[in-house]
C-alpha cells in the first residue's frame, strides 16, 4: 500500500497521481500522512480505490469524489465532500461548515459533529452525522437524505425541496417551508439501510427519529408567501 507523506510530496503531485489512476490500476489502497489542514486533499478522484488520511484535513477534502472510498482519521474543514458524485467518505472527527454541499450521490459519514449548512443544496447525496449539525443545514436541499443522530441547529431545511431529513435529537428551529412529517415503515426501512451502510448498528432504534421535509408551499412564487422568500 503506497504511503504519501504530504511533508515530502506536494498536494498537487498527490492529486495528480490519484487522478491518473484508471480502473485497472495495480494499487488500490493509498495512505496519506501529515495532511496538516491542507486544502483539496483527494479532490476530484474518479477510481474505485481507498484513500486513508491520517490527521486533520483542510477545505474541500474529497470534493467531486466519484467511486473512491475516502477515510479521514481526523477532522475536516469547510466543504468536505463538496459535490460528491458517488463513493463513500468517512470522517472520524468533526466537519466544518457546508459538508456534503451540492452532493449528487454517494454516502458521507461524519462520526463527530458537522457545522452549519451541512448538506446545503444537496442533490442526491446521503449524509449520516453521528453527532449534531449546525444552523441552516439542508438549506434548499433537493434530493438525498440527511440523517442526524444528535441535534440540529436553527433553520433546518430552510426552503427545502425533496430531500429527506431524519433527526433523532432536538431541532432548534425549522426553516421556511420545512415541516415535520410522519415516519412510515418505508421510511424506517430506508433509514435502517442507510444507517447500516454508515456502520451504525442495531443499538440505534429507527423509530426514535423524526422526519422532516418540504411543505411544498414555496415551489412557485406566490404573493402571499412574499415574507418567506
Amino acid at each position: 500500500m503506497p504511503t504519501i507523506d504530504l511533508d515530502v510530496t506536494s498536494l498537487r503531485d498527490l492529486n495528480q497521481m490519484l487522478h491518473d489512476l484508471g480502473d485497472g490500476a495495480n494499487d488500490t489502497d493509498f495512505h496519506v500522512v501529515n495532511p496538516r489542514g491542507k486544502h483539496a486533499i483527494a479532490a476530484g478522484v474518479d477510481a474505485p480505490i481507498t484513500i486513508e488520511v491520517d490527521g486533520n484535513v483542510g477545505y474541500y477534502c474529497g470534493g467531486m469524489n466519484k467511486r473512491a472510498n475516502i477515510i479521514v482519521n481526523g477532522s475536516a474543514g469547510v466543504g468536505l465532500a463538496e459535490n460528491m458524485m458517488s463513493g463513500r467518505i468517512h470522517v472520524k472527527g468533526d466537519a466544518s461548515s457546508s459538508a456534503g454541499a451540492t452532493g449528487c450521490g454517494g454516502l458521507l459519514v461524519i462520526d463527530g459533529n458537522a457545522s452549519g449548512r451541512c448538506g446545503i443544496s444537496a442533490r442526491g447525496i446521503d449524509i449520516v452525522v453521528k453527532g449534531g449539525v449546525g444552523h441552516m443545514s439542508a438549506f434548499m436541499a433537493q434530493a438525498g437524505s440527511l440523517i442526524v443522530l444528535g441535534d440540529a441547529g436553527d433553520a433546518l431545511g430552510d426552503s427545502i425541496y425533496e430531500a429527506r431529513l431524519f433527526v433523532r435529537g432536538s431541532v432548534k428551529s425549522l426553516g421556511s417551508d420545512c415541516i415535520e412529517k410522519s415516519l412510515s415503515d418505508l421510511h424506517k426501512q430506508t433509514l435502517r439501510k442507510l444507517l447500516d451502510e454508515a456502520g451504525v448498528g442495531g443499538e440505534v432504534d429507527v423509530s426514535e427519529f423524526k422526519r422532516y421535509g418540504s411543505a411544498r408551499k414555496l415551489y412557485h412564487f406566490h404573493m402571499d408567501n412574499l415574507e418567506a422568500y
Binding site: K38, H39, V78
Partner: protein, 299 residues
C-alpha cells in the same frame, strides 16, 4: 478573505517562544491576506510606565535621537526599542501626555499607534511572512498575541487600514469580514466624542468595543452587545492586557477554528494556522459557534 491568528499562553514557561509560535501561524495565512499584515504582542510591562508604539512613515527615522529629544522635553528617561519602522518608547505613565505632545512637536512623520502597559502593535503593507521578518516577530516574548493578514475589501491597502486596530489602552481588535452599518455607527460614535483615523469598518468596531467598555462593560459583555449593534459578516479576535476573546456573527460564514491544550489557547481562521503549534495533535480542536462569545483571561 483575510486571516487571523491568535495565541494565548496558559503555560508561562512558553512565553519566550510566543513570537516564534505566532510568526509560524501568521506565515501560514499569507494566502488569505497578501496585502498587509500586523500583529499585537503583550510583552513585559513595568508598573507606573506606559509603552507607546510609534510608527514612522520613513525607514530612516532615528528613533534614538527622537527619544533623546522627548527625554529633554519631559525631563525623564525614555526607554527605546526599535523594530524597523516602528519603535516602542517606554515613558513614566504620568508623563504620557507630555511625551505625546513632544513627539507631535518633534516629528510629524511619526505616529503613536498604540499605548498600553504591555501591548505593542506592529503593522505594515506587504506579504505577512516578510512583515513578520522585518519586525523580528520570532524573537518577541509575551503572554499572548494576535496577528492578521489582510485582503482589502472595504478600504484601501494602506498601513492605516492594516490590522490590528487599537483604540484603547492595551486593547486591540482584528477582524475578518465586512461590516455593513459601519458608516452609521461611526457617525453615532463621533457624536459621542470619538475620533477616527480611517474609513475602515474594523476601526469602527474597535471604537465601538472601547465605548462599551468605557460605559462599564467587560470585554465579554461588550462583545455580547456587538451581536445586537453590528451588522455584517465578522469574526473578531480581541486582546486586552490580561485577556483574549473571540466572536463570530450569527450567520458565521467567516471561519474560525479554536484549539486548546494545557499550555495554550489558539485561534486560526483555518486549521492550517494551528497545525504548526507544538502538541496540536493532542489538542481539543473545535469550530467557534455562531454568536457565541469565547473569552480567556489570565489570573
Amino acid at each position: 478573505m483575510c486571516g487571523i491568528v491568535g495565541l494565548f499562553l496558559k503555560n508561562k514557561s512558553l512565553e519566550p517562544q510566543l513570537g516564534q509560535m505566532l510568526a509560524g501561524m501568521l506565515g501560514t495565512m499569507c494566502e488569505r491576506g497578501p496585502d498587509s499584515a500586523g500583529f499585537a504582542v503583550y510583552g513585559s510591562g513595568e508598573s507606573g510606565h506606559v509603552k507607546l508604539t510609534l510608527r514612522s512613515a520613513s525607514a530612516k527615522t532615528n528613533f534614538a535621537a527622537l527619544a533623546g529629544m522627548v527625554e529633554d522635553a519631559i525631563g525623564a528617561p525614555v526607554l527605546v526599542e526599535t523594530h524597523a519602522t516602528h519603535a516602542v518608547f517606554t515613558v513614566p505613565a504620568e508623563l504620557e501626555t507630555a511625551a505625546r505632545e513632544a513627539l507631535a512637536a518633534e516629528d510629524k512623520t511619526v505616529k503613536v499607534v498604540s499605548a498600553g502597559n504591555r501591548m505593542e502593535i506592529y503593522k505594515e503593507v506587504g506579504r505577512p511572512d516578510k512583515v513578520a521578518q522585518r519586525f523580528d516577530l520570532a524573537h518577541m516574548k509575551g503572554s499572548h498575541g494576535i496577528g492578521h493578514t489582510r485582503m482589502a475589501t472595504e478600504s484601501a491597502v494602506t498601513v492605516d487600514g492594516a490590522h490590528p486596530f487599537s483604540t484603547g489602552r492595551d486593547q486591540c481588535l482584528v477582524h475578518n469580514g465586512s461590516l455593513s452599518n459601519h458608516n452609521a455607527l461611526r457617525r453615532k460614535l463621533v457624536r459621542k466624542g470619538m475620533s477616527f483615523e480611517t474609513e475602515n469598518d474594523t476601526e469602527v468596531a474597535a471604537h465601538y468595543l472601547t465605548w462599551r467598555m468605557e460605559e462599564g462593560e467587560t470585554l465579554g459583555q461588550a462583545l455580547e452587545s456587538s451581536i445586537e449593534d453590528l451588522d455584517g459578516f465578522y469574526t473578531f479576535v480581541v486582546g486586552t492586557e490580561s485577556g483574549f476573546g473571540v466572536l463570530r456573527d450569527p450567520i458565521a460564514c467567516k471561519h474560525a477554528v479554536l484549539a486548546e491544550t494545557d499550555d495554550y489557547v489558539a485561534f486560526g481562521t483555518e486549521y492550517r494556522a494551528l497545525a504548526v503549534l507544538p502538541g496540536i495533535e493532542k489538542a481539543k480542536v473545535w469550530e467557534a459557534e455562531p454568536a457565541t462569545v469565547y473569552f480567556w483571561e489570565r489570573h
